[in-house]
C-alpha cells in the first residue's frame, strides 16, 4: 500500500510539472498583457512595469522563476489586485469555495443515493417515475438557470432566503442547491441503474432465501456493490464542483476562488493564473488518488498494489 501511494505521489509530481509547463506556455502565447486597457499606458511606464514584474526577462528565466514559485509556494503579488498576493487570494477564497463545494457534494451524494435507491427498489412504480423525472430535470437544467429560478421563487417571492451574498448559513443554502442539482441527478441515475443490476444477482436471491430482512439486504449486500460507480464519479465531481462553481459564485456574489480562476485569465493576471491553476491541479490530483484508495476499501477485489499481474 505504502509503495503504491509513493508511486502515485511521484506520478502526481510529474503531472503537476506537466500542468505548470503547459499553463505557462499557453499563457505566454496568448496575446495581450496584464496592463492592457482601453486607455493605453505611455510606453515608458509599460516598460517600467514589465521590468518590475520580470516580464522583460527571457522566457526560460521567467519559466524557472515560476517553477521556483511553485516549489516555495509563494506566487507573489497579483498584477490586478495590488493590495493582495496570490497566496492571499487563495487563502481567502478557497475556504469559501470549499464550504460551498462540501455542502453541494453532501447534498448531491445524500439525495442522489437516496433517490437512486428508492427508484431501484420501486422500479416502474410511481416513486421510480417521480425521482427519475426530477433527475432528468436536474441534469437538463443548467446550474445558472436553476440559480435564478431559486432566487426568484425562494428569495423574492417567498422571502425565505436572502437573494445573494455569503454571510450566514442561510446564505449558503441556495447556492449549494443550485450547484448540487446536476450532480445529484447524475448520481441518482447512476445509483438506480447499478442498484438494479446488483439486485438481479444470485447472491441477493440467496440472501432473500435465507430470510434476511429487506433493509439488511439493501444496505449490506446491494448498496455496497452498487455504490462503486458513484465513488468513481466522486473524484471528477469534487474537482468539478470546486472549479465549476464559478457561475454560481458570480450569480450569488460569493467571494470564492472560482471567480479568480476565470477572471485571472481575462485579466492576464499571470501570477494568479499560475497560482490558482497549480492549486486546483493539486486538489484534482489528490481527489483522484483518494478515490482510487477508496475503491480498495469498498471493493476488496480491486488490489491497489496489483504487482503480480503487472500493469
Amino acid at each position: 500500500m505504502a509503495k503504491y501511494i509513493g508511486k502515485r505521489l511521484l506520478y502526481m509530481l510529474i503531472s503537476l510539472w506537466l500542468i505548470v509547463t503547459a499553463t505557462f506556455f499557453l499563457m505566454k502565447i496568448a496575446p495581450g498583457n496584464p496592463f492592457a486597457s482601453e486607455k493605453k499606458l505611455p510606453p515608458e511606464i509599460q516598460a517600467n512595469l514589465n521590468a518590475h514584474f520580470g516580464l522583460d526577462k527571457p522566457w526560460y528565466q521567467q519559466y524557472t522563476d515560476y517553477l521556483m514559485n511553485v516549489v516555495t509556494w509563494d506566487f507573489g503579488p497579483s498584477f490586478k489586485y495590488k493590495s493582495q498576493t496570490v497566496n492571499d487570494l487563495i487563502s481567502d477564497g478557497f475556504p469559501v469555495s470549499f464550504i460551498l463545494g462540501l455542502e453541494a457534494i453532501f447534498l448531491a451524494v445524500a439525495f442522489g443515493i437516496l433517490f437512486g435507491v428508492i427508484a431501484a427498489l420501486k422500479q416502474n412504480k410511481w416513486q421510480d417515475y417521480t425521482t427519475m423525472a426530477i433527475a432528468v430535470l436536474g441534469i437538463s437544467v443548467p446550474s445558472f438557470i436553476m440559480a435564478t429560478f431559486l432566487q426568484y421563487f425562494l428569495a423574492i417571492k417567498l422571502g425565505v432566503f436572502p437573494v445573494a451574498r455569503w454571510e450566514s448559513f442561510m446564505h449558503t443554502i441556495l447556492p449549494a442547491i443550485a450547484l448540487a442539482a446536476g450532480p445529484m441527478a447524475y448520481i441518482a441515475r447512476l445509483t438506480r441503474s447499478s442498484m438494479l443490476e446488483v439486485l438481479a444477482n444470485d447472491y441477493i436471491k440467496t440472501a432473500k432465501a435465507k430470510g434476511l430482512s429487506s433493509g439488511v439486504i439493501t444496505v449490506k449486500h446491494a448498496m455496497r456493490n452498487a455504490l462503486l460507480p458513484v465513488v468513481t464519479y466522486l473524484g471528477p465531481l469534487t474537482a468539478g464542483v470546486l472549479t465549476g462553481s464559478f457561475v454560481i459564485e458570480k450569480i450569488f456574489g460569493i467571494p470564492g476562488l472560482g471567480f479568480h480562476f476565470v477572471t485571472s485569465i481575462t485579466n492576464r493576471d499571470y501570477t494568479v493564473i499560475m497560482g490558482v491553476t497549480v492549486f486546483y491541479s493539486i486538489i484534482l490530483l489528490v481527489a483522484i488518488l483518494l478515490v482510487d484508495i477508496a475503491y480498495g476499501i469498498i471493493d476488496p477485489r480491486i488490489k491497489l498494489a496489483g504487482g503480480k499481474k503487472g500493469e
Binding site: 496568448a30 496575446p31 499606458l41 432566487q151 428569495a155 422571502g159 437573494v163 449558503t172 450569480i251 481575462t266
Partner: protein, 544 residues
Amino acid sequence: MKKRFSIFFSMLLVLSLFLAACGGGGDNADGGDKGDGKDVPQDLKVNINTEPPSLHPGLAQDSTSGTVLRNTMEGLTRIGPDNQPEKAMAEDWDISEDQKTYTFKIRDAKWSNEDPVTAQDFEKAWKWALDPENQSTYAYQLYYIEGAEAANLEGGSPDDIGVKAIDDKTLEVKLVNPTPYFLELTAFYTYLPFNSKIAEENAKWATDAGDDYTTNGPFHMTEWSHSDKIVLEKSSTYWDKEAVKLDTIEMVMINDPNTELSMFDNGELDWAGAPTGALPTDAMQALKDNGTLVTQAIAGIYNYKFNTTVEPLNNVNIRKALAHAINREELIANVLQGEQLPAMGIVPPTMFPENEKGHFPDNDIDAAKEFLNKGLEELNLKDPSDLPAIVLSYNTSEAHQKIAQAIQDMWSQNLGIEVTLDNAEWNVYLDKVDNMDYQVARLGWLGDFNDAMNFLEMYRDADGGNNSTGWEDPKFQELLSQSQTETNPDARQQLLKDAEKIFMDAMPVAPIYFYTNNWVQDEKLKDVFVSGLGDVQYKWAFFE
C-alpha cells in the same frame, strides 16, 4: 481557514435563530418611521461590482477604486453638486497672472488618526506617484505639473517637480501650461493626498482597512473584506462632518446585474445600476415603464474607429459614407434601450452642448450615398459590390455583438456594402487594435476630467497610444497646441471646437452614441450626487 470554519458554528446558530424567529419577521423599518420626525436609519447599501484593485491614491486607475477613494479621501478640491470644483482640503488659492502657478492654502483638517493634514502630505503623495519605482500606471495624470513627466519617464530629479510645500499649510504648484481645468484635476484620485507619516513607516498601508488606513474625507473605511464587501462609516474627524448625514455605507461586490436588481427588489440594496453597478439590459424596458429608471448623460462616447491606413478606409468619402449611414436613433431605441444620445460629434454634449445635434444629421442616407459614389469614383470602382468586404471587429460581449449586427445590416441595406463581423477576447482584441490589425473597430472612451481636451488629445499624433486610427492632421495639432497656451476660456473653447470640426471632416472615427448612466434607487434616498463624468459621491446623501 479557522475563521471560515467558525462559519459552520454560526450557521447552526443562525439556523436556530431563524427557526425561532420565523413568525415574527417582517421588520425592515418600513412603516415605523413615519411622522414625528423620528430618526430614520442612515445606512446605505450599494453594489460596487468588484474588488477595488487598489485603494492607494497613487495606484488606483479604475472607477471602482475611484468610488471608494472619492468618498473616503479628499483632495485640494472636490466636485460639488453644481459640477464645479469647490474648496475642500484647500480653503483658498491664488492663481498667478500667467495661470501657471497655483498657491493653495491648506485648511486645518485632520486625518482619521488626528494627525493634521499638511501641504507635505500632498507633495509627498504626488511625488510618490511620479516615482517610477512605485509602478503607478496613472502617474501621467500628473504630467500637467512642471518636471513631472521628466521625473516619471526620463529619470528627472524629483526635486525638479513643480510641487512644493512652502510650509505646513501652503502648497505651491507650477504647471507646464495654463490649464483651465486644473482645479478639476485636483479633485481626481491621482491628486489625492495620503498620510505621509504613516506611509513612511508602513509601505503597505493601503492594502487593508485598519489603523494605518487613515482618511481625510467624509467617510472612513472600517472593514475591507476582499472580494466581498467594504464598510464605510461617517468620519468623526472630517472638517465638514455637519454636511455628512449617512452613518454607514456598505459596499458589496456582486458582479451579476440580474442578482443586483433582484437584491434591490428584495430590499437588500438601496441602489442598483450605474455608476457603481449595472442593470440587466432585458430589464430596462420594464423599469422605464414603471417609471423608476433614472437616466443621466455622462461624458463618454462609443466609437467605431476606422483604420485609415488600409483600403478602402483610407478614403475619406468611404469613411463618411459609413458614418452617415448609421441610424443611431433606431439603434438606441431597439438595441441599447438605455436612453443614450446619438453621437454625431466626438466631444460629449456635457462639454459642448451643441453636440446634442452634432456635425451632421443622424441616418442621412442620401448624403451617405453621395459620399459613397464620390469615394468609389476616387477608387476607380463602379459599384459598392466591387468593394472588398469590410471587417467590423469588436471584443466578445453580447452588447457589442448586437450593435455590430445592427450596423452590419444598416451598411448593407443602405449602401450595399458587405460587412463581416469579427470578435475576439478583450486582451487579444486590444492587441489587434494597437497593432492596427483591423479595419473598423469599436472602442469606448470615458472622460477623466470635464474638458473637451480629454476627447481630442488622443488623436493628436498618429502614433499616440490611444489614437489607433493612423490619422493625424497638422492643422488639428496646431489648434490643440494653441488651446494649451490660450488663457481666455472662450477663445480656448472655440479653438477646441474648430479642432473637432477638422476631425469630423476627416472622420477617422464614426461616433455612435454618448453614454448614459441608468439606475434605480430607493425612493427615500436623496442627494446622492452623480457628476457629469459619472462619478458618485455620498457626502450629501441621506434617507428621508
